[in-house]
Assembly symmetry: C2
Homo-oligomer: 201 residues x 2
DNA sequence: GCCGAGCCGTGACATTTGTCAGGGTCCGGC
DNA sequence: GCCGGACCCTGACAAATGTCACGGCTCGGC
């Protein structure tokens, strides 16, 4: 019997996943939660065989939760299930030692299969998303550029970003301009969106 | 037996919903799809008792699909299920004659209850979302302001927006400025986000 | 040691964006 | 009829943003 931990922020979807997996022989959902930090706590406490994590969660996002679980409960295999096919996410997930990565566009039957495969020691990467990630170059932005982009993401004016980061306004403008050039977009706002779409932000 | 049409763009989630509702006595899923236009076609063809629509779908969004179904298959009651609690969406849904509106943050048991209630001639509005919508004023933006905001949403510079809308740059800046003031935000980019969050865009 | 590459930081300058005052049109109330 | 209000549109001016040339720092290769 595979003991499964289920983490997904939308209550309704979580319940539906539980119903779906409940019909599968050999799989038992031992706990479910809508928060990333809760997921880590439950993994430590219950030592499930497999943890299935959504990325978009309050408290701690699914990728960060995966990292923590890999550190503290190495026996627990992690599969990420996400609606956003962002190349950077897949990269981060792989770095975190995740064993499975599945997009929400797959047929329902895939899910149980993947869980069994992961539990058996295998790996599963959504072929669609893998192709995207491989065809994609690494993030070309420097740490400082990412900092400024993150700070700019809320729509704050340069003056505020500069204060937050303790930089001169000129420097902030410079980083943003550089990011804009590297991402080949027109202005920082589209740069923010592009970076977010890539999963870099 | 309640004959149900299920429309939700994420295949995996759709399958999970089908599994969840499949365990409910008295409910039969007669068709499922991931596209809004398909949902309308299937409703016309199969005349289900209830259609459960997600908002975020390719082809035709759930709200537009609800409008079409209300026109062409009045016997079919519609319930909207959505992850985004945008006040404007609820308003549009009500205007379209939707009988139920449920956020994805509800417990799984709610769903079947709501479907039964709708089918019995009742209505159900997510109390959480209803409160948001009622506490919210109507969209204060004029048609032209909405046009410019929509055009600005992609991050295009004023010059391009002006060309698209056949306006002088000054006029475009003026509309955007007006929208920014009305929404009480700092610049057009946050204005775009705010308007989108409200479901006005 | 020293050279080059890459990152961090800055100010001055050009361009874009935001703000303001104001003119034109349409429509409903009196 | 005409008044007030709401909307559409514009150009001129001020403020924010984007661009550029430049200097300092660290680190790895030679």
């Amino acid at each position: 019997m595979i003991r499964l931990l289920l983490a997904e922020d939308h209550h309704l979807v979580r319940g539906a996943f539980a119903a779906l997996l409940g019909t599968e022989p050999g799989i038992e959902v031992v706990a479910e939660t809508g928060r990333g930090d809760e997921a880590v706590r439950l993994a430590v406490e219950l030592r499930p065989d497999v943890a299935m994590l959504d990325i978009d969660m309050p408290g701690l996002d699914g990728l960060a939760a995966a990292e923590r679980i890999a550190e503290t409960v190495p026996s627990c295999r992690v599969v990420i299930v996400t609606g956003y096919g962002r190349p950077g996410y897949l990269r981060r997930a792989m770095a975190a030692g995740v064993r499975g990565f599945v997009g929400k566009d797959n047929p329902a039957a895939t899910l149980a299969q993947v869980i069994r495969q992961i539990h058996g020691g295998g790996r599963y990467i959504d072929p669609e998303l893998a192709a995207d990630a491989l065809s994609m170059r690494e993030c070309p932005l420097t740490p400082r550029e990412l900092d400024t982009l993150r700070a700019a993401a809320s729509g704050a004016p340069v003056s505020r970003i500069a204060r937050e980061l303790r930089l001169s306004e000129g420097t902030v403008r410079n980083y943003l301009s550089s990011a804009v050039t590297k991402l080949a977009v027109e202005n920082r706002h589209t740069a923010v969106r592009r970076a977010r779409d890539m999963g870099w932000l």
